[in-house]
């Protein structure tokens, strides 16, 4: 993959970083970091959340100003104090949060703030043409420059983000978790774009939690831990295990913990037969007590809609559901919660948490509103729940917006544990959280299964679905395409998910 560009000493690095350090409020978050990026190189940056990856990227992007160290671009020291300066110097960043205006068109987004002009007026035609050219260069023909961003899929929006970064004539593009919201074939699309960029001689700094991508794409891998660079070496000399060990400082043999002793699959708890609504059809599914069922499928295949239907957010309009043998027809989430059903939503910032409220208030949010009489009990139990989940926070009065992604997710989990759920629905429970927090989520799932709860987990990460589930259902176009045992291969899942026979690995 990397035979076209030589990254050996003969080529001068585009970017050289030495001794880069940054502290916030006296807490060092990045110390003495060094990094070299060569033309045409894809450089993976991995580490747990809080390891300093985002800080490093934001220092390079000019979002933060460094405390110490040196950043050289083509051998010249640079000093960015605003993201735009970095862009103009050819260093673009695709941040994890989407930086697009949904109500504006693709072209308006890409050329925001530097629209091509004819005299005083924006030259709309030139702008749309430049956008079309740019997308074509990336091999994308399915996105119209005049389409409004809100009409695009998540994957397409991601491509627009990357196109925007490229449009600054970027020679270095750093990407923070570019696949966090993508699945299967969409990731392949991104691979294609990165390959084109690499061939143009663009250097790419690639941050991801998905080790498969890191190994698929990267020539060099740098591991950050606790604000320091642990190793930086060619990808060829590394494997999953050694990388994870470097990241967490311990072997990850318990990455997907086994079922706890005494876990037994009991009787059917939740049964759906012939369930359907505008997004789903013909859903037959039974969840047993003590069982973890995984839901795989592409973006938009109806996975989120399935858990939302069970949770009463957008309920079934056809078919029947029973809970513990009794008819169950939730007409609102509140109704579902009263039946002790919990949904850990996909988007924790928008749907899971009140970011500017305290940890404790967030954890008590559901109990307070649905079963207020249990509030006092839940409040007494909260400290214990948080310590068992290993939430790292100053105290329970801290606002959740200041927590890392992993800790935020633990607060969401605590909020739902407070209602003592019997059915736990998890939608992408480990998206964007670090390995340590992932393991905590997995352990909790095993524990809940042991307690006899039924668990339904939606995930785009196939190793996770296969590693954690007792059974896996695969969705396609609003229907259950099939059910497979966890011993199945990722290829089998993809075949079911795409409906293709000989699908790409």
């Amino acid at each position: 993959m990397d035979d076209e560009v030589n990254t050996s000493g003969a080529v001068a690095p585009i970017l050289r970083v030495t001794g880069l350090s940054k502290s916030f409020f006296g807490v060092p978050v990045l110390q003495d970091a060094a990094l070299e990026l060569f033309p045409g190189e894809v450089h993976g940056l991995v580490g747990e959340n809080g390891a300093g990856k985002s800080t490093l990227m934001k220092l390079l992007a000019g979002v933060y100003v460094r405390d110490a160290g040196r950043i050289e671009l083509d051998g010249e020291p640079v000093d960015f104090t605003h993201p735009v300066q970095a862009h103009q110097a050819g260093l673009s960043t695709v941040f994890q949060e989407f930086n697009l205006l949904p109500e504006r068109t693709v072209a308006q987004n890409i050329y925001l703030g530097r629209e091509p002009r004819k005299g005083l007026l924006v030259d709309r035609r030139a702008m749309n043409q430049a956008t079309a050219d740019l997308l074509e260069e990336l091999g994308i023909t399915s996105i119209r420059p005049t389409a409004s961003v809100s009409s695009l899929s998540v994957a397409q929006q991601q491509i627009v983000e990357i196109a925007k970064a490229v449009s600054y004539d970027a020679r270095i593009i750093s990407m923070d978790e570019p696949t966090a919201a993508l699945a299967g074939p969409e990731v392949e699309l991104l691979y294609g774009i990165i390959d084109r960029l690499r061939r143009r001689g663009t250097a790419i700094l690639y941050v991801s939690h998905r080790l498969k991508e890191i190994f698929d794409l990267c020539d060099t891998i740098t591991v950050l831990k606790d604000g320091r660079i642990v190793t930086s070496s060619p990808a060829a000399g590394l494997d999953d295990a050694s990388l994870v060990r470097a990241m967490v400082g311990r072997p990850i043999s318990a990455y997907f913990p086994d079922a706890l002793p005494g876990t037994a699959t009991g009787g059917p708890l939740l049964q759906i037969s012939g369930g359907g609504n505008s997004q789903l059809d013909d859903v037959d599914l039974t969840l047993h007590a003590g069982e973890i069922v995984g839901v795989a499928g592409l973006q938009g295949s109806g996975r989120t809609e399935l858990v939302e239907a069970i949770f009463g957010a957008a309920g079934f309009t056809r078919g029947t559901m029973t809970l513990e043998g009794r008819p169950y027809r939730p007409h609102s989430p509140r109704d579902a919660i009263r039946h002790r059903i919990a949904l850990i939503t996909e988007d924790r910032k928008a749907q899971g948490l009140s970011l500017n409220q305290s940890i404790l208030d967030n954890a008590l949010a559901v109990v307070r509103s649905v079963t207020p009489r249990r509030t006092a009990v839940a409040r007494r139990q909260a400290p214990g729940v948080f310590s068992s989940l290993e939430v790292v926070a100053r105290d329970l009065d801290q606002e959740v917006q200041f927590l890392s992604g992993g800790n935020q997710q633990k607060v969401v989990l605590a909020k739902w544990l407070a209602i003592d759920p019997q059915v736990v629905l998890l939608d992408e429970p480990t998206r964007g959280i670090d390995v340590g927090a992932k393991v905590a989520v997995y352990s909790l799932m095993r524990q809940l299964a042991q307690e006899g709860k039924a668990i339904l987990m939606v995930s785009s990460e196939l190793p996770e679905v296969l590693g954690m589930s007792d059974r896996v259902i695969v969705m396609r176009d609003g229907r259950i395409a099939g059910e497979i045992p966890p011993s199945a291969s990722e290829e089998q899942v993809l075949q079911l998910a795409t409906g293709a026979r000989g699908v790409l690995p």
């Binding site: 605003h82 925001l112 005083l120 919201a181 592409l298 989120t304 988007d347 928008a350 176009d477």
Partner: protein, 356 residues
Amino acid sequence: MNRLSSTHIVYLVALATIIAGTVLVGSAGRNFFSPGNVSDILTGTSILGFIAIGQTLVILVGSLDLSVPYVISLSSLIGAGIMANQPGNILPAVLAALLVSALIGLANGAVVAGLQVHGFIATLGMGLIVSGYLGSNYQGSAGQAPLAFRLIGATGIGPVPVSTLIMLACAAVVLLMLNTTRLGHAMYAVGGDASVARMSGVRTRTPVIAAHVICSTMAGLAGLLLAARLGVGSPTIGSQGGYDLLSIAAVVLGGTLLAGGKGSLIGTLGGVLIFAMLDNIMSVLQVNPFLKDVVRGIVIVVAVAVYARRKVVHRPARFGRGPAHDDDAPPPGPGTSRQGGPSRGDGTGARDEVSA
């Protein structure tokens, strides 16, 4: 219905209002389309139009302007005061009134953009300050507009009043600014998401300040126009009209998002037209003032409720409703082919719900 933009809806409602007006006014034995009545309606659009144009910009950048009624009054007093019935003073009077208005807008914008005070509070404070100045310095009407100036408020080309033409000319300029200049694009960007705008290299304060300056200047123009109609300046003319809330209502009725970042000036003009026609119809029918406000209130709330519903429906249905199973879409081809074209809801869930 879902294909219609909010601007389309506004003009459909305007059309419905015209039809209702024709019938209702006709049943009262009058002609809705008589030159006199059309002129009345258009006159009604001019004052509110000026203010709503400015208010649209301010709301688009994510702010609000509650100081407009007091700027209107102040501008009418400065204008009529300096004119003092001398035709030669018209130009300096107009310039002075607009300059003071613009400076008030500049102050509003500076407080909102620089001190990060929300426009609601910043302009509430400014409104109180100006209102205090007016209350303590003017006991009643003051100044005198000369005949030449008063003609602006009284003449027209056919049934179209000059004041409406000035308002439409201002709207055209602002529309051009919004849609075809970097400043206009920056206004949408800052109102849509200030941090996105900043990260894209937009100077995020400039559009906010510019919107406030334009809004206040428009209010100043409205004040001058009122002075032309009345022949004098008045310290209460702005607040009597309730132009602050009415202009916000017209903007929102026109489909602009109160949170900013989305909207159109054309829609606002539609909103203004609807309000002007409603007023006219109810005046002709001699509806009592209380009922007038009830109708206005219902129109604005229903409009926003309609827009809110439209925002919720963002996932196109994959399967029909009801028990029938024969309406299923044919099974699509290999899923890989779906990654390209505008998707039927691929992943729109998470993102759209965030922005909703």
